[in-house]
């Protein structure tokens, strides 16, 4: 399982966000360049139609591959009351021919994206990952070098944390509390519920840029 929230930020404020995250996390950022291929099962395959993501990490000297399955989000009044999305997620590293394998099994490419940006991985009671990336689409199949932004001038911020059915309330609390620190720059909510950019972003960014993140927002 994972807990996840998303938000958007104008590209001009990303540097300020980076300074803030650097101060909050106390770790070095990692470069992010991920080619994301979303596959769907052929019409006749499977009890129900299914989707699987094949991720290729292009930031590594040797590209590494991951298979990811994201399930339906948790439902019910309990889930509605929390501001974080909790959903089943399973990942597995795989050898480089994993895409060819899924094609052979009867999966077809639905769409592909290239995420370019940076990520922070850190411990805050629980393991939290923050990614800030521009989402790009390919004009030609697999042409990652010619990718263009889906939303120019905007970047996607995602905060995720692995969880289990036993500890997810604790993880949700940790993610929620962490998100409050970012509030002056951006608002984070459940994926699919966009809240837009925050009006205080420009002022908060200016303040961060002027003193390198020394001020408590």
């Amino acid at each position: 399982m994972e807990c996840v929230v998303q938000g958007i930020i104008e590209t001009q404020h990303v540097e300020a966000l980076e300074i803030l995250l650097q101060g909050l996390c106390g770790v070095q950022k990692e470069r992010l360049r991920i080619h994301e291929l979303c596959l769907k099962s052929s019409p006749n395959l499977g009890a129900v139609s299914s989707e699987v993501q094949i991720l290729c990490d292009l930031a590594q000297p040797e590209p590494s591959w991951t298979v990811r399955h994201v399930g339906g989000s948790m439902r019910g009044t309990g889930a509605e009351q929390i501001s974080v999305l909790v959903r089943p997620m399973v990942e597995s590293k795989a050898s480089k021919n994993v895409l060819r394998f899924f094609y052979a099994l009867g999966y077809k490419l639905d769409h592909e994206l290239l995420r370019v940006g940076f990520a922070f991985h850190f411990q805050r009671g629980v393991q939290i990952t923050v990614t800030v990336s521009s989402v790009n689409k390919m004009l030609k199949l697999h042409a990652t070098d010619e990718a263009v932004p889906v939303t120019p001038g905007m970047q996607l911020v995602e905060v995720t944390a692995p969880a289990t059915s036993e500890n997810y309330t604790e993880v949700v609390a940790a993610v929620t509390s962490f998100c409050e620190h970012l509030a002056p720059l951006l608002h984070l909510s459940k994926p699919g519920i966009s809240t837009g950019v925050v009006p205080t972003a420009a002022a908060a960014a200016a303040s961060l840029m002027s003193d390198g993140g020394g001020t408590t927002l």
Binding site: G46, H69, P88, S95, A104, G106
Partner: protein, 222 residues
């Protein structure tokens, strides 16, 4: 990693494999001074497609094999022989396959037995049984040569070892012999340098042979 050959027991026409043969093979390893080191176990699962409309001619493969190997306990291997693909992944990939509900794991076979050390060689002799029964389906033997990782460089010494082994075993007049069918590893994109993916491909080949010989036996019977 050290390379290995996976051999399988080929019963003489009209005979079948039995536990007495397995016992004699194990005794024979000890007879040539193989030192028993402990148990080993590998698990093999067949995945078959779940089709919504059985009548529609499927473009999907009939099946593929998933395997966990004792040499890499955190990894899982898929072999799709028809497409010459072998994939190495984490064990969690089994969980992903289960969630996708597109392929169902059907028959699980277990390879298990004892491991022996014999100079620079490590031997593993094991029975092949379905996961929920003790019905012996076959006998396999892994011959691992510890100092070398290159398939080509080790070929001669492996052939010589197998020759000595076959000779030792032939004194027991068992109704069959071990065979080694070497897959064309380069077709699977594998190099001369041995990896666990080579092991997975060898087991997939052994399974194809086991199924073919079982079918041949039933054809003779009918």
């Amino acid at each position: 990693m050290p390379l290995k050959w996976v051999l399988q027991w080929q019963p003489n026409p009209g005979t079948t494999v039995n536990s007495q043969i397995l016992a004699e093979v194990s005794q024979c390893v000890e007879g040539i001074n193989g030192v028993k080191e402990g148990r080993w176990k590998a698990t093999l699962t067949y995945y078959k497609p779940i089709l919504r409309d059985q009548a529609m001619s499927p473009e999907m493969p009939r099946d593929f094999i998933g395997m966990s190997l004792p040499e890499q306990p955190s990894k899982y291997y898929f072999t799709l022989r028809s497409h010459r693909i072998v994939v190495e992944s984490d064990v969690s990939v089994q969980n992903i396959m289960e969630k996708l509900q597109s392929y169902k794991s059907r028959v699980a076979l277990i390879f298990e037995g004892f491991q022996y050390q014999l100079g620079d060689f490590q031997l593993r002799v094991g029975k092949v049984v379905p996961s929920h029964s003790e019905n012996l389906r076959g006998i396999v033997m892994e011959v691992e040569y510890l100092p070398i990782s290159s398939l080509e460089k080790s070929r001669r010494i492996m052939e010589e070892f197998i020759e000595i082994w076959q000779e030792a075993l032939s004194k027991r007049s068992l109704p069959g012999h071990f065979i080694h069918v070497e897959p064309n590893f380069s077709e699977f994109g594998l190099s001369d340098h041995y990896t666990s993916q080579h092991t997975a491909v060898q087991y997939a080949t052994v399974m194809a042979q086991l199924i073919a010989s079982a079918q041949a036996v039933s054809t003779v019977r009918n």
